[in-house]
């Protein structure tokens, strides 16, 4: 309901926070176990690396290495809770609600079912593996890109350079 209220107020449209339709997941992935199983079945190297607890997310997550790169996976009790959380992520991934992390690299946010997945980096192999099962990122930016991953300009819009 909070997410709906947010949308109704016009700041961000719900559609901008849905996985994009251009690349559908190859298999239905709705939870952590399914994601890991599918990634491994597709030949990706996946290693568990413990937990990760972000102060701006409602649940603790799991840290896994995919092709040697750290990926954070957050599983919510149901898809609506994941949607509400995703609605708080700015299109360029630079903010989550009123929190502004200085990321180590370009952030990529994915959402599928109960899962919200965060990858910070620009390794094509990792991105392709995640996009196969999670669809296109709903927020974030590519290295060197002036645009958010979903084609929206980020908060640098109109910046005088």
């Amino acid at each position: 309901m909070l997410a709906a209220g947010f949308t109704a107020c016009g700041e961000k449209s719900a559609s901008s926070h849905q996985p994009q339709q251009g690349k559908s997941p190859a298999a239905p992935v709705t939870d952590f176990a399914g994601l890991i199983a599918n990634l491994r079945a597709a030949g990706a190297r996946v290693e568990p690396k413990g937990e990760v607890d972000q102060p701006f997310f409602a649940v603790a997550g799991r840290l896994v290495k995919v092709h040697g790169e750290e990926v954070q996976v957050f599983q919510y009790p149901h898809a609506a809770a994941a949607d509400a959380q995703a609605a708080l992520v700015s299109p360029d991934g630079s903010a989550v609600g009123t929190s502004k992390p200085l990321w180590l690299g370009p952030p990529h946010f994915f959402k599928q079912g109960k899962l919200l997945v965060l990858y910070i980096g620009d390794n094509d192999k990792v991105l392709q593996a995640l996009e196969t099962f999670l669809g296109q990122p709903f927020a974030g930016r590519h290295q060197g890109s002036m645009h958010g991953a979903n084609g929206n300009r980020g908060s640098d819009q109109g910046t005088q350079r």
Partner: protein
């Protein structure tokens, strides 16, 4: 692990609603959503709570001096009283903390709390998990991150978010090479003028203390106020605590699997 839910601030959810209700007040190029400290004077003082290690102290001093070059604000460093690991906010000021927060993917994290469009308190976390590594343990990285995160708590966004292009020459620029991006630039100062000098507020959020918050750690349902709403067949609940003077704190709770009532999110002060 995924069946246990943790208390979190509801600030992010409520801030979105607040933002929608109070659209950006300026045509600024890198204002963060129009958020700003409410103040009744043209040049307002802002305290920065020192909860950082000795290594960070000179960088905090530099950032405080840098931002105080602005004609609309003056920051001062005061003794911190917080556990840096938790880095809980204090009403009316910014707590600056350093600790090994873990492999979270961020070097620094700025968080603000809102009452409408007004910032009521803020925190800055500097992640020593990364600053203890050779790559980031440099004066340039420390200056950039300290400067940028404090800048966010003043209401500034980024001037540029491209990691690989040429540096803009400001700490509000994303970069892979911090050299030359260690301080604010004139555009940042101009932006602060745009944010703070185009209107005045009838009240102030600077240096204010919500008395109702004192001594309340919000660990138990008894501290969350009245139950406002139950949803999802009773799995989620919203509590409201009236702090007076138009301030309310909301706590959103999700019933953890197995029937134990576990806090999902904490609360936020907003009018």
């Amino acid at each position: 692990m995924f069946t246990t839910f943790h208390r979190r601030s509801l600030a992010v959810l409520l801030a979105g609603l607040a933002f929608a209700a109070f659209p950006a007040l300026t045509s600024a190029t890198h204002s963060w959503g129009g958020y700003h400290w409410a103040r009744t004077v043209t040049e307002f003082p802002l305290k920065l709570g020192d909860n950082v290690s000795n290594t960070w102290d000179p960088y905090l001093a530099t950032a405080s001096t840098d931002w105080s070059f602005s004609e609309v604000l003056n920051t001062s460093i005061v003794t911190g009283t917080k556990d840096p690991k938790r880095c809980q906010p204090t009403s009316g000021r910014v707590e600056v903390c350093s600790a090994t927060y873990g492999n979270k993917g961020w070097l620094g994290l700025a968080q603000i709390w809102l009452s409408g469009p007004h910032i009521t308190q803020g925190t800055v976390k500097l992640n020593d998990t990364y600053f203890n590594t050779t790559r980031y343990n440099t004066p340039a990285w420390r200056r950039l991150v300290m400067c940028q995160e404090i800048g966010h708590t003043l209401g500034l966004d980024h001037q540029d978010e491209n990691f690989t292009n040429a540096n803009v020459g400001t700490c509000t620029d994303y970069t892979n090479n911090p050299a030359g991006n260690e301080h604010p630039n004139q555009h940042d100062y101009d932006q602060l003028v745009t944010i703070y000098n185009n209107h005045t507020d009838s009240t102030t959020t600077v240096g204010q203390t919500a008395a109702a918050l004192a001594g309340n750690d919000f660990e138990t349902p008894a501290q969350w106020g009245k139950l406002v709403r139950l949803t999802n067949n009773g799995r989620t609940a919203l509590f409201e605590l009236d702090l007076g003077r138009g301030h309310k704190l909301f706590t959103f709770v999700i019933l953890a699997e197995g029937g134990k009532l576990g806090p999902f999110m904490g609360g936020d002060i907003r009018q």
